[in-house]
């Protein structure tokens, strides 16, 4: 059973990301959207939390916030809305950590 974990809150304002990563298993994917994308800034304190996880981020939310791709944690997959749908479709469950 694979799970898609969706985080939409800034890791610097809420603990959603911290709880979520504690629930991420080997087969799971973490998708960062809305203010959740701030976790993907490589030089930020929250970046360490993403280590070892399969992580994707919504490209349009990164762009809206002025986060350039070269500032991101290495290995993050940037997806568009169609890619978001694909992730939902290819995983068995979706858990949104609001």
């Amino acid at each position: 059973m694979s799970m898609l974990h969706v985080v939409n809150k800034s890791p610097y304002e809420r603990n959603s990301l911290y709880t979520c990563v504690g629930y991420c298993r080997e087969s799971d994917t973490l998708l960062l959207i809305e203010d959740g994308v701030y976790a993907a800034l490589a030089a930020g304190k929250a970046a360490a939390k993403l280590e070892g996880l399969k992580v994707a981020a919504l490209g349009s939310d990164l762009k809206a916030r002025g986060i350039a791709e070269d500032k991101l944690v290495e290995g993050i997959e940037i997806v568009d809305y169609a890619g978001f749908v694909d992730l939902v479709e290819t995983t068995d469950r979706v858990q949104s950590w609001l």
């Binding site: 800034s10 203010d35 970046a47």
Partner: protein, 135 residues
């Protein structure tokens, strides 16, 4: 006209996840029209409001970030950014918009509006204000 007061707007939220940042900007612009001594502070996720190159074309939001560049024309020339908040988020001044104002006392010389300050320095600046608005 009554005595000029020191107004400080404290911004602690990221720009698009909630409406706080935009609302703050609107209130700042209205307040600036009343010739008060206005300052802005950006703390915690508020520092994300000032990032350069915001492009909302793919997400359906209104990109209000160019409005910060107009603050100088409204006489808002003191924009304090807290160093600790920037560093924790992996940002530096280079990641932010350059905001300037024209000093009419010095032949309209262009000066930087953003002042990078420590938490301790900002605490002192907050303590000097007459009115604090929090967003």
């Amino acid at each position: 006209m009554s005595e000029i007061k020191k107004f400080m707007y404290v911004n602690r939220k990221a720009p698009y996840g909630t409406i706080y940042a935009w609302e703050s900007l609107e209130v700042v612009l209205i307040g600036a029209a009343f010739d008060q001594n206005v300052s802005l502070a950006f703390i915690d996720d508020g520092v994300f409001q000032l990032t350069a190159d915001q492009d909302t074309s793919g997400s359906g939001f209104k990109n209000f970030s160019p409005t910060y560049a107009a603050l100088g024309d409204y006489g808002v020339t003191k924009i304090y950014v807290e160093r600790e908040s920037l560093e924790e988020r992996g940002l530096s001044l280079d990641d932010l918009q350059q905001l300037t104002w024209e000093d009419e006392d010095e032949d309209y010389a262009e000066k930087d509006s953003i002042r990078l300050v420590s938490r301790a320095e900002l605490a002192e600046i907050l303590a000097e204000q007459d009115v604090l608005f929090n967003f």
